[in-house]
């Protein structure tokens, strides 16, 4: 199964695509990190794949 994540460029915290898609734009959950992370920051191919297979990433 393809696993899609985004790594915060500032603190290295890794966030799964299902979290980014749900929040759309979110403050990095890393401790004390002010970076803003967004689903749109994922590469286009990754976003498309995630949205096409969205139900596989839900519980």
């Amino acid at each position: 199964m393809r696993i899609i994540t985004l790594t915060c460029p500032t603190c290295g915290t890794v966030v799964a695509a299902n979290v980014l898609e749900e929040e759309r734009i979110t403050k990095c959950p890393g401790l004390g990190c002010d970076e803003v992370l967004a689903f749109e920051q994922l590469p286009e191919t990754e976003r498309e794949y995630f949205l096409e297979h969205r139900q596989r990433y839900q519980m």
């Binding site: 890794v14 979290v19 519980m59």
Partner: protein, 357 residues
């Protein structure tokens, strides 16, 4: 070698305790389960740890572990979000692992033995993975490993009706980066999760070698209240205790008692170890604290008999009764209803509580 500590999950079998916090922070001998795992990693020389967080209890875990410096390790957080299985959690850690070998440790598992022998055994051969095993009397409830004569894993069967072996997988695994190929290749199981057993089976079917190491000491999955009480018993059994607190004249103490420097055992109280009593707690007159009991911080115990139990902390127990084999959550208050009329018990019980009165 890096470490991946899994700290997600809903803790549904530990409700109501987990309504207000993650299961990995429930204390065993006054130390969260998670801390034992971090210390085990460190003892094995693994100080770069990725902590995988779910949707629940994320902030509490981060607040406790911080950046890891308090424990002499370096922590990176990995937010998995939806609980899509252990293999999905591991897959989320791919960037963190960055081509290294790594150990995966379930954050609610406790081992008596350090993971060092498992790691050393893995590093001695050309393995794609390694599993920690333990013999159990009820293998049909676990993932069962079938081994060849050299101890390499030939097959893993999840909860078989008729197990061919009594050695089962416990919550510690070692992997080479080849694991990520397997994770990409496997599909979710019938329950919608990516299963770690499927990762191992894919690697085996791909011709890779999987090492095994049988854990000799005890192992506990602390997923249920009775597991917490039992794990507390096992940890206290080997407790390295020091009485730093105050034991008043007239208090009776026996056995190994770990008493925090700000805790007090007052005159008229009886405490028989092994027992752990945390900061600010007072054991007052006419209280009996029996073996295998841990009492968390800022609690008051009076006129009560407590044995083989875990009190998370900030509790007041003055119930004039016997409490045994119990797990009592933070901030609980148990008082006597003896003089109250009309006669009867008065309860404020949270959802999913379990009481035997």
């Amino acid at each position: 070698m890096k470490g991946i500590l899994l700290s997600g999950g809903t803790g549904s079998r530990l409700r109501p305790i987990t309504h207000t916090g993650p299961k990995q922070l429930i204390p065993i001998a006054n130390k969260p389960v998670l801390q034992y795992v971090v210390e085990d990693f460190k003892e094995a020389g693994i100080t770069e740890i990725g902590v995988v967080l779910g949707n629940k209890g994320r902030e509490a875990v981060q607040k406790f572990l911080g950046d890891g410096s308090r424990f002499g390790v370096d922590i990176t957080y990995i937010v998995q979000g939806n609980p899509l299985g252990i293999a999905h959690a591991v897959g989320c850690a791919r960037d963190f692992v960055d081509g290294d070998d790594f150990v995966v440790y379930l954050g609610d598992n406790l081992l008596k033995q350090t993971i060092s022998p498992l790691v050393e055994s893995f590093e001695e051969g050309d393995y794609a993975g390694g599993i920690a095993l333990q013999q159990v009397p009820n293998p049909e409830r676990f993932g069962v490993a079938e081994l060849d004569d050299s101890g390499n894993v030939e097959r893993i069967v999840e909860k078989p009706d008729d197990p061919e072996s009594d050695v089962v997988l416990i919550g510690v695994y070692v992997f080479s980066p080849r694991a990520f190929e397997a994770i990409e290749a496997i599909e979710p199981s019938w329950r919608g999760e990516l299963e770690i057993t499927d990762v191992f089976q894919w690697l085996i079917d791909d011709g890779q070698r999987i090492d095994s190491h049988t854990v000799r000491g005890w192992w506990k999955d602390t997923g249920k209240p009775e597991d917490i009480v039992e794990a507390n018993h096992l940890v206290l059994e080997a407790l390295d205790a020091t009485v730093d607190g105050t034991v008043a004249d007239g208090a009776e103490t026996m056995g190994r008692i770990d008493l925090h420097e700000t805790a007090t055992i007052e005159s008229g109280a009886v405490v028989r170890g092994p027992v752990s009593i945390d900061a600010g707690t007072v054991i007052e007159s006419d209280a009996y604290i029996g073996p295998y009991t841990s009492i968390g911080p800022d609690s008051t115990i009076r006129n009560t008999h407590i044995e083989n139990s875990v009190l998370v902390g900030e509790s007041t127990i003055t119930s004039n009764g016997k409490i045994i084999d119990s797990l009592i959550g933070r901030g609980a208050e148990l008082r006597s209803a003896e003089d109250a009329l009309p006669e009867g018990r008065r309860l404020v019980v949270g959802e999913n509580s379990n009481l035997r009165l």
